[in-house]
């Protein structure tokens, strides 16, 4: 139980730090006015590394943080990230630590669907139908930038996760 708390604290800290970085540092690292979506990388990673439950919770709180400060309706981003976390969690069975292809593919797919959903709900329903323009200038660049950042961020998250799991195993071993 004690180590579960440690895991929760580390995860919460990761979420908060990523969110703060996303809002403060990354706007100045934007290329062509496009920023990568760190919260989505985090949600997807925790999803397929630890399963649907963890993915859901990380997604829900990431989305909630975004909603509180910047959202229009409270709960909008929370719902999207929640579902992203859950769906990524369903891929836990297919996931192997050493391989980076599946994580990249999952993050890429999640990012693309996220862009589509935000466009559909926030823009198309206000009859801004210029989808190709948004595709070329926002969705695809964000997708590419996010995948590039995943190449760097994912090993870090993996490392943290491995350390946590190793500590849990060690502690479990002590009971024997």
């Amino acid at each position: 139980m004690k180590l579960k708390i440690k895991r929760v604290i580390v995860t919460a800290l990761a979420v908060c730090i990523c969110y703060a970085l996303q809002c403060t540092l990354f706007p100045s690292l934007a290329l062509a006015s496009v920023k990568p979506n760190l919260m989505l990388i985090l949600t997807a990673s925790f999803g397929f590394m630890r399963g649907p439950k963890d993915g859901m919770l990380v997604g829900f709180f990431s989305g909630l943080l975004t909603d509180i400060q910047f959202g229009n309706i409270l709960g909008f981003y929370a719902l999207i990230y929640l579902l992203a976390g859950y769906v990524n969690g369903l891929f836990e069975q297919l996931y192997y630590d050493e391989d980076i292809k599946l994580p990249l593919a999952l993050v890429g797919a999640t990012e693309f669907i996220y862009g589509l959903v935000v466009y559909l709900l926030m823009f198309m329903l206000r009859s801004e139908f210029d989808f190709l323009h948004y595709l070329r200038h926002i969705i695809i660049p964000e997708l590419i930038y996010t995948i590039v950042v995943t190449l760097g961020l994912y090993p870090l998250i993996l490392f943290i996760n491995r350390r946590l799991e190793a500590e849990e195993k060690r502690s479990a071993g002590k009971f024997v």
């Binding site: 908060c16 730090i17 969110y19 703060a20 970085l21 996303q22 809002c23 403060t24 540092l25 990354f26 706007p27 062509a32 006015s33 496009v34 920023k35 979506n37 760190l38 919260m39 399963g51 649907p52 439950k53 859901m56 919770l57 829900f60 989305g63 909630l64 943080l65 975004t66 909603d67 509180i68 400060q69 910047f70 229009n72 309706i73 409270l74 709960g75 909008f76 929370a78 719902l79 929640l82 579902l83 859950y86 969690g89 935000v118 466009y119 709900l121 926030m122 823009f123 329903l125 206000r126 009859s127 801004e128 210029d130 323009h133 948004y134 200038h137 926002i138 964000e142």
Partner: protein, 396 residues
């Protein structure tokens, strides 16, 4: 096998539970403005201090790197700045003279003070919207410093945006280039009103659109200044928005539209000024701030009264975006959104097109669903609207 089924069941229940929570939150935040209150406390405790911390560290680093520049550069700069200061002092003196004369003339006409004399509060931008779709940012002053919803935000001499959410030590500002922002504008030289819309697809080219400008004999040329109009519900009059870069006559031959270049560089916003009087304070509709948008909001809604029926059809699909914004706006007068398409029917009278013509019906605090509110209001607003319309020309 059984354990796996159990965990997957638990997960499904958890998913369903959290989804319900999200939907409930969305529902609450659409119909009750204060729903976000407890969550703002959460943000206040966790994220805002971190963002302010990062900001401080970042500014420190920037300062240090700037100090490492060469001394020679600084000396040269100092010289040229001194020359500029001298020039400006002379200019300033001339302007002061003219200003006194202007004040006297204004006194004669009993006009109110222009915005240059409004009280302003400086604030720093501490974080920007984490996504790429909207253009909002957070400043480090909040209700403790006297910031309220609907205060205009300027930088330098140009309009930047309007406050949409307020916490104790922070506030969220929606910039005018945000896709859902509409500002009531006016060409400074001819006083023709128009609606200035932010547009996500244009801002990378550094442009914004303006629409619904009357196609009369007044010539509007490239380079003319566009300022906020006096009939705007949310924006104080006379704040510079940008310069016209293109004008065309619409295909209906009744209106003109075009593009304008905003005067503020939104990519490099670091410090802004918040004007501490809201338009509602000045026009005496300040009482409408906390009340549900019933009759108290009449002066704010009279523009919408005419617009509500025709735009309701166009806006019903946009309700999600439209319904989304009003609740977080405590002033009771909704932020402008998606009103551009609604504007044509009501612009003939020159009534403000910008102001939430699409969103005002949904902000009816009684919780009526957005479309119904829109349908119900025009008949109610008929009488107060006329009274308010009569009052408007007399107000400075």
């Amino acid at each position: 096998m059984k354990k796996k089924n159990q965990t997957s069941n638990i997960n499904k229940y958890l998913l369903a539970g959290l989804t319900m929570v999200c939907v409930l939150l969305m529902f609450l935040s659409v119909f009750y403005v204060r729903a976000a209150g407890p969550f703002r406390v959460l943000a206040n405790l966790t994220v805002i201090p971190m963002q302010q911390g990062f900001n401080k560290v970042g500014s420190l680093l920037v300062d240090v790197s700037e100090n490492l520049g060469t001394l020679e550069e600084s000396r040269k700069l100092n010289k040229s700045l001194q020359a500029k200061i001298d020039e400006l002092i002379m200019e300033n003196n001339n302007l002061q003279e003219e200003k006194y004369e202007l004040e006297r003339l204004r006194e004669l006409y009993k006009l109110d003070q222009n915005y240059a004399e409004y009280e302003k509060v400086g604030a720093r931008v501490i974080s920007k919207d984490p996504g790429n779709w909207f253009s909002t940012f957070t400043i480090d002053k909040g209700s403790i410093d006297g910031i309220r919803v609907d205060m205009n935000v300027i930088a330098g001499s140009g309009l930047v945006g309007i406050v949409t959410q307020v916490g104790p030590t922070w506030a969220t500002v929606r910039s005018i280039i945000d896709d859902s922002s509409n500002v009531g504008g006016m060409v400074l030289s001819t006083s023709d009103t128009c609606t200035v819309r932010g547009d996500l697809s244009l801002i990378n080219d550094g442009k914004m659109r303006f629409e619904q400008m009357e196609n009369n004999d007044n010539k509007v040329e490239v380079g003319e200044q566009i300022v906020t109009s006096h009939i705007s519900d949310k924006y104080l009059q006379g704040i510079l928005i940008g310069y016209v870069s293109e004008v065309q006559v619409d295909s209906n031959n009744l209106t003109r539209s075009g593009y304008l270049t905003p005067v503020v560089n939104f990519k490099k916003l670091q410090e802004v000024l918040v004007i501490t009087k809201t338009k509602a304070d000045l026009t005496g509709t300040g009482a409408a701030e906390e009340q549900p948008a019933g009759e108290a909001g009449a002066p704010a809604e009279d523009g919408a009264g005419e617009a509500a029926p025709p735009e309701n059809g166009a806006d019903a699909p946009a309700e999600e975006g439209a319904g989304a914004q009003p609740p977080e706006n405590g002033a009771g007068a909704p932020p402008e959104d998606g009103a551009g398409e609604a504007a044509p029917p009501e612009n003939g009278a020159g009534a403000p097109a910008e102001d939430g013509a699409g969103a005002q019906p949904p902000e009816n605090g009684a919780g009526a669903p957005a479309e119904d509110g829109a349908g119900a209001q025009p008949p109610d607003q008929g009488a107060p609207e006329e009274g308010a319309a009569e009052n408007e020309p007399q107000e400075p």
